[in-house]
Symmetry: none
Subunit: 123 residues, 4 copies
DNA sequence: GTGGTCTAGACCACA
DNA sequence: GTGGTCTAGACCACT
């Protein structure tokens, strides 16, 4: 279910966070679903448990998941998926602003969007 | 001319690289223009010369500038500005792909682009 | 394992790079092998950690090794040894072209090769 | 007659030395021929006179040219061309040794030599 | 005066 | 403990 690239420049715990958020956004993980335990996920991915713990901790701080002592971590139930997409839209807007800074015309951006959305769905 | 945020999480030398690329892209810096000397830029920004040197060196290995020992660093002359915009478009495409992964519709993206590009130009 | 000549005109970090490439080429270092840590190699060679780090960083940008933060540096896994030999052959070809420019006959070159390759293997 | 690449990593004075040696080797410049004056060559190439002077000085130290005060620099007359080719052969031998270190077979080297020497002559 | 290399030593993020 | 970034200050080669 989770895929990690240890050679990537982005820290493992960030990769994990991102994937969990993705799963929430597309409702593969729904409110009150249980996340795998830190230790099981760590051993499954072959990474340090501290790394998984860090990802979970940050997600909790940001309100996307909640922890029940002795039971595990669960997806929050406050429109979490909508929040995530809002967050992503903000990132997108920042990217667009950057494009504008480089004097890149909006037509090129439209075209790129169309290209991407016309492709078949794949990972 | 150059602005650095020492508080930022992104390394100083990366901020510098980005700004130089921006200036090339919008042709504030044109092929064979001379960049400020490592030492002068460093003292002007209040950072260590090594930091500026690192930015320049990376830009050189990436082919955006060239160095003449004893004379200084200069903007490369092979359509560097076009190359940079291409690179940026690639980044944008990746971002759009990410949006698609999160099941965000393309209409929202269009709208965001319009918002950004309708604003007055500012830094 | 590594030998550095601090007197040499060629920079220490270049000497290091060369030796590492040599070891990869003759498969003393194989894909995914771990390189010595920056600090340990530095102290072993009696040089500054920054110097070793620079060598590693350049090897990484050239694609010969990859870095996993918090774990160390490792040999890349894409036929790195073959790539290095190809690179070396290119250097050799350039040298031969130079010889031709100086109007040196190819017979002399053959002879030199035979001399070198008939000697016993040594460092 | 002389060609300089200011963007090259090899210092200008080295490029100059190399070209002069090349011309001696192929007898475009013969013993007792006069070299262009420091100032004329410098202005012709658009480089600093000190740079040309440095090239000449090193060539004199190495015995390839001699200076007559108030008259100029001249090619030495002691089989200079043969000496240069010897020097070049030494460089070639070092390169071959390097190839051997990387465990590159001699057959590949033969082949490369043939390729180069079969090409038409060009710069 | 220009960039290139190096040292000594520091702090941080990641695992 | 690992590499990444940064500072302060030094020496060298090239122009």
């Amino acid at each position: 279910m989770f895929l990690i690239d240890v050679q990537s420049k982005t820290p493992i715990f960030e990769q994990l966070k991102k994937q969990i958020l993705e799963f929430i956004s597309i409702q593969v993980l729904s409110p009150n679903d249980k996340l795998p335990s830190v230790r099981s996920l760590a051993s499954q991915l072959g990474v340090n448990p501290n790394t998984v713990a860090k990802a979970y901790q940050e997600l909790e701080t940001q309100g996307y998941i909640y922890t029940v002592k002795g039971k595990g971590c669960f997806i929050s139930d406050n429109d979490t998926d909508a929040q995530i997409r809002l967050e992503k839209m903000k990132e997108f807007k920042d990217k667009v602003k950057e494009m504008k800074k480089y004097h890149i015309g909006k037509d090129g951006l439209y075209q790129t969007i169309n290209e991407v959305y016309e492709e078949e769905y794949h990972d």
